[in-house]
């Protein structure tokens, strides 16, 4: 809601005042009471809980493409342009559990399927992607088609295909091959059909009775394998994970721990965590980020792309490669720069992506001071303390800022002959008005601390000739500049509890609710005990009952049907 960046004054009038007052009640509530509370320090086992809900999710474009790349190799790729999900509670991933698939969208799936099937069955690839050869290339070969379709069907639908379903695809391949007098063309038609089939496009979780806990439901083995895989790899499970599901190993505590450790050790974890942080940080905004070329001619599409990449590289390097403390992401001077970014940082351009450490005492420390956050939460032509502050509250601390009241009149800040030069002076006017101050007080101090950086993240000491004051306080903790803000953020309890909340929601596919508090307290406590390390957090979540248990009363019909 970019509108809230522009604060104003609420018009006089009873109805308007009432709405405004209601909006501000939530802004006036003490920050951190619920969302920012320090996690209980405890090493107690997971509290009894009934887990999460079963979901029906639509596979995202990235999950679809990652799965194809894992099954067929990285050069089998397409640009399907599947529509993005809508963001709910801070995550696009939660939108996939609510979205429908429109006719136009299915058309995109079908087009992608034609491209992919064509790539897989073309002359260059068929030799190494298929383990059998047809008796004749000009006719159907059921046995060969069955072998290929059973193999790919299991990986694409994340479960072995039931016999009847496999037989239907084989029949499609055979009938099509006969009609087209081409075995591979027939096989491609069957593969296309498989790629638009509901079992590939939808992730429909199934539950079953938990024999260890009578009366309780748990995800079945394949659903657990897929939930793990989408969470950790942002792709479907591979052969090894499916084998653990097939054997039932994944349902035992020891077996599940083995599978999780295997997945955490895989290079695919990096892909998965890039996707998670890209979603949590709302970096989809980069897809349309552009700056006014007259004001910022040096900021190009490449700069925007590299800015996103810089932060993702920093996150992966710090949290996975170095197994660092999550909080240190907001104070670290380590980063990576590209030729395009070097120009913005006013550094000598490296030939390619290169690790870089900002010197001690530099105003750059932590990912908040990277070009990504600074540019994406600014206007095309100028910085915006309110946009930045709002984004940091919502994205990093999970503290939603309410929308502004209707009929806001901005005349008080619209003096054409204003002597106002800096953003702080502008925003101070908002702060003086009680109708605006409630919400602005929780956004602006963080944003103002970043005012030493313009709309494309370049450092500056002054704005329109006036010195910039980047001091402030965050929830009672004072700081004198942006480096100080990073440290205050580092120590803010909501920083880590927000990551926990997002990771749990992302992993289980649904918003965290009020009755998830005990589960989140437990995960928060473990996170703290283990030094705020991401792999440990992922392990805690994925091995928890909260992750695998399903809170529903078993419906007899559904249980019977899940045998399919």
């Amino acid at each position: 809601m970019a509108v809230f960046a522009k604060a104003g004054i609420v018009k006089a009038g009873p109805a308007v005042c009432l709405v405004a007052a209601l909006a501000l009640v939530s802004c006036s509530a003490p920050i951190g009471k619920d969302q920012g509370a320090a996690p209980k320090v405890a090493s107690t086992p997971e509290p009894a809980n009934d887990g999460s809900e079963k979901r029906l999710r639509v596979l995202s474009e990235a999950q679809y493409l990652n799965t194809l790349a894992h099954v067929f190799g990285p050069d089998v790729k397409t640009e399907p342009h599947f529509p993005p999900a809508q963001r709910y509670d801070g995550l696009l991933a939660l939108g996939t559990a609510r979205a429908g698939v429109s006719g136009a969208q299915l058309e995109l799936y079908q087009k992608a399927a034609v491209t992919v099937a064509g790539l897989i069955t073309n002359r260059e690839r068929r030799g190494y992607l298929m383990t059998c050869k047809p008796a004749s290339e000009k006719a159907a070969d059921r046995a060969c088609a069955q072998q290929f379709l059973a193999y790919t069907g299991r990986l694409l639908s994340r479960k072995p295909l039931p016999q009847a379903e496999l037989a239907a695809f084989v029949e499609t391949a055979s009938a099509s091959a006969d009609k087209l007098q081409d075995f591979y063309a027939g096989l491609a038609i069957a593969l296309e059909a498989m790629l638009v089939s509901p079992k590939v496009i939808f992730v429909a979780e199934r539950s079953e009775s938990d024999p260890q806990h009578p009366g309780q439901q748990r995800l079945d083995a394949y659903s657990l394998a897929t939930r793990l895989s989408l969470f950790l790899w942002n792709a479907g499970p591979d052969d090894a994970v499916l084998k653990a599901a097939e054997s039932g190993e994944i349902l035992t505590p020891k077996g599940r721990a083995r599978v999780v450790n295997m997945m955490l050790a895989s290079p695919r974890l990096e892909t998965g965590m890039r996707a998670f942080f890209d979603d949590m940080f709302a970096f989809d905004d980069f897809s349309t980020l552009a700056k006014d070329p007259k004001i910022y001619p040096s900021f190009t599409g490449v700069t925007a792309q590299d800015a996103r990449e810089e932060t993702l590289r920093t996150v992966i390097d710090h949290l996975i490669t170095k197994n660092g403390d999550y909080r240190d992401l907001f104070t670290t001077r380590d980063t990576f720069i590209s030729p395009s970014l070097a120009a913005q940082y006013r550094l000598p351009a490296p030939p390619t992506w290169t690790p870089y450490e900002f010197p001690e005492g530099a105003p750059r420390a932590g990912i908040l001071t990277q070009i990504s956050f600074l540019s994406v939460h600014s206007h095309p032509g100028r910085s915006s303390p309110t946009l930045r502050g709002k984004a940091l509250r919502e994205i990093l601390l999970c503290q939603p800022v309410p929308p502004p009241p209707p009929n806001v009149d901005f005349s008080a800040v619209e003096n054409p002959n204003s002597p106002i030069k800096t953003a702080r002076e502008r925003i101070n006017i908002h702060q003086k008005n009680p109708a605006c101050a409630g919400c602005h007080k929780i956004m602006d101090p963080m944003g103002l601390a970043l005012e030493n950086f313009d709309a494309i993240g370049r450092y500056r000491d002054t704005e329109k000739g006036a010195p910039i004051d980047a001091s402030g306080s965050l929830d009672g903790k004072a700081f004198k500049d942006v480096v100080g803000l990073g440290q205050v953020l580092h120590d803010h309890p909501a920083l880590t509890s927000c990551l926990v909340k997002r990771a749990y929601s992302y992993g289980t596919g649904g918003s965290a609710k009020a009755d998830d508090k005990d589960k989140l307290d437990y995960i928060n406590a473990r996170f703290a005990e283990q030094g705020y390390k991401l792999p440990d957090l992922l392990r805690t979540i994925t091995l928890s009952n909260a992750f695998s248990r399903i809170n529903e009363t078993p419906a007899p019909a559904a249980t019977a049907a899940s045998a399919n």
Binding site: A2, P84, A168
Partner: protein, 449 residues
Amino acid sequence: MGDLDMYGLDRRRVLRGVLNGSAVTVALPLLNCFLNGTGDALASGEPMPVRFGTWFWGCGMSKKIFVPKQTGRGYELTEELEALKAVKDHVNVHTGLTAYRDGNFFCHYTGWVALRTGSAPVVGSQPLAESLDVTIANKIGRTTRFKSLTATATGDVRNVISYENATTPNTPEFSPINFYTRLFGPDFQDPNAPTFTPNPRVMVRKSALSPVMERIKVLNGKVGAEDKARLDQYFTGLRHLEQQFDHQLTKPEPRAACVAPKAQKDEPVPGTDSVLVNTRHKLMTDLMVMAVACDQTRVFNMSMSKSDSNQTKQGYEKPHHTCTHEEPVDEKLGYQPNASWFTKRSIENWAYFVEAFAKVKEGGGTLLDNVLIMANTDVSYARIHSLDEMPAFTAGRAGGKVKTGMHIDGKGGQGTALSYTVMKVMGLDINSWGTKSNQTSKEVGEILA
């Protein structure tokens, strides 16, 4: 009588015969003319189809220089409407429309969503119901290759103006190249081509969908009601795919106005600069108009900007939306000059959109004669997010059912009355539309012929 009938052949029977064998090129007899003698119907005797479209712009207007002083015909164009000069006779200007919030308010969302869905949303970024274009498309869009088409000039796929239902936005085409490929790429069948080559692959592709549809039944038995609705929607999508294959296997009716454009090779770089947006709008509009002329769709949506428009003017630091809130009202002019600059660009693009339909000849008139377009915005006065006195437009004569060239003052009445009217014009058999304060059964009678 169609020409095929004159040869004693039924087109589908011809094609069926062909497709049972291998792929061959079939020379279907060229039709002597596309239309009947009077030019007001297709050769088959069917009347010209009436199509429906929507157009959207963000951040409203400046009342002082937008709202015409006079009503009815012969009104004088105002400063912000000056760009409508060339299309004034094709357009109705509607002002004084109210969108009711019904207790909730989401700044730049509530107003336009109320007019397009009939209900004020109760959460941000999600409507309560499908948008009117979808309701209309479900009525008139079932026979074309695309049930509807939606595009945006913003370059942002997230810029939604149409909802299939509460949780399924119809995401827009945002790239001219992608849009061109979807419309006129390899799957396009030129309705005026002298020969027709049915693709045997398409036939087997269609057959391959049947077992897929069977699979949905397995899933359907295992999910809750909401998810079942999502699967039903997917199933409908499969049916739509099947229909598209049928289209590819059927020689289309000739369309005199259909001239497939040249392949789109370049497109504007990403960005919200007004010049880029205008260029994108022209490219997308030209493609959309030809998609309608070629009868690829009968329902279309185009958006010029986001509701909280983020367009920029080179060298001016405030994007459109920010400008509406922060720019002072010029004491001499009595309005916000830069905010108005953005509105004028929007109206120029609206004029371009209307004229693009008017330039295509169809029958004895133009394509626009057989089209009805409703254009709306999110607020009236963006500076204070006002939902009172909102403006809107209609364009086209809907096959003679609608009168144009007027300014109609809604006098503070429900904005949904306009939406209801266009739905009725498009043949929907409804007695009222919308919920709570936005529920209406009033028509804007002035525009009805």
